[in-house]
């Protein structure tokens, strides 16, 4: 099992990052929705810190993924109808954009509250926005909209992966299309 990608398939590094991010993103979306609606008290306050930790980790994984794909080029998409290929191409571009913008908007909103963004219970990240009510409201509004777009995109991505019978899904699970 190769770590690097080649022209025919994904190496284990790309696949591991993909599935780790898939689990993390779906978990963070569900978790974020839950904590946004729960009654907050001292016993569940840690969940906000946990959500921030997952978000920042996903941001780090995205950076790692981009760097890795510069080092080890991923294979070209498998042949498909032109409209399917176009949808897949734009969906992937949107994924990268949203996977960058969602955690950043959360970080901006968190910074704007004036509350430290602490990850893994120990590291305080620098504020990336001024402590400002306007930034806070805008940050959370953007975060909310983008997470919903990301959820829709995930559904589209899953539908595409499941309905394509050309080995695309197998390639991301086992490395090879066949």
């Amino acid at each position: 099992m190769s770590a690097a990608n080649d022209t025919d398939g994904f190496g284990w590094v790309s696949r591991t990052i993909h599935w780790a991010m898939a689990l993390g993103v779906i978990g963070a979306l569900g978790f974020g929705t839950y904590i946004a609606r729960m009654e907050v008290n001292l016993s569940n306050l840690w969940m906000f810190a946990a959500h921030k930790t997952v978000g920042i980790t996903l941001l780090a994984l995205l950076v790692l993924r981009v760097v890795w794909h510069l080092v080890s080029r991923p294979p070209e998409p498998l042949p498909a109808a032109p409209w399917k290929s176009a949808v897949a191409r734009w969906a992937h571009r949107a994924f990268y954009l949203l996977l960058l913008a969602v955690p950043l908007s959360g970080w901006v909103a968190s910074s704007a509250t004036g509350i430290d963004t602490v990850v893994f219970g120990r590291w305080t990240l620098p504020a990336i926005a001024p402590a400002s009510e306007a930034w806070e409201e805008a940050g959370f509004a953007v975060h909310s909209v983008l997470t919903k777009l990301l959820a829709l995109l995930i559904l589209l991505h899953i539908a595409g992966a499941v309905t394509r019978r050309d080995g695309t899904l197998r390639r991301m699970i086992a490395g090879r299309a066949a």
């Binding site: 907050v40 008290n41 001292l42 509250t113 004036g114 509350i115 430290d116 400002s132 806070e136």
Partner: protein, 187 residues
């Protein structure tokens, strides 16, 4: 513990003092406590009292006055994030409004209790408030000794009235306030 002896009625019944007596604040012995609901729990903490001007007329309560400046930027809370949220832009916005001020507009005494009408300014917004409380001697002080007194005033504000409505989905609107100020008579 302090032996709480309400002096006010006694003091007000004393006809000897004809003019307000000025007191200065002992900042180390003074603080403002606050409490606010946080889900099923509570956020509480203290704010330092930065300055206070107290003039007490023991003959005519209505001549008395109290003004207090609290250092909101120095507020503490029972957990760190609460203090940061409290001082943040959507609540007290201490970066722009580091102080909370209170000054009396009317002073009434009834029995052992006092009622103080005043204006409180939070986030630059001024609203009327009524505080209740009294004056107390410290343990060991001689009866009639008014050189050192404790002022205790309690009241509540709706923080949304002042635009301090951040985290309203998590934190209650009604904030209980208790001012404890140790004052020393100006000699």
């Amino acid at each position: 513990m302090l032996r709480a002896i309400a002096l006010l009625l006694l003091a007000l019944a004393t006809p000897l003092a004809a003019a307000p007596v000025d007191y200065r604040l002992d900042t180390d012995g003074s603080r403002v406590q606050y409490r606010v609901a946080f889900g099923t729990d509570e956020i509480f903490g203290v704010m330092p009292v930065e300055d206070a001007a107290v003039a007490l007329d023991f003959a005519m309560a209505s001549n008395s006055s109290v003004s207090v400046t609290m250092n909101a930027a120095g507020a503490t809370a029972n957990f760190p994030f609460a203090a940061q949220a409290l001082k943040g832009p959507s609540v007290l916005d201490t970066g722009t409004h580091p102080d909370i001020t209170f000054s009396t507009t009317a002073f009434r005494a009834s029995g052992n209790d006092a009622e103080v009408d005043g204006l409180i300014t939070i986030r630059g917004v001024t609203r009327p408030i009524t505080l209740r409380g009294g004056l107390f001697r410290e343990r060991g002080q001689e009866p009639g000794d008014r050189s050192e007194l404790l002022v205790r005033l309690t009241g509540a504000v709706q923080r949304s009235d002042f635009g301090a409505d951040g985290f309203s989905d998590m934190v209650g609107d009604r904030v209980e306030i208790e001012v404890l100020a140790r004052i020393l008579r100006d000699e």
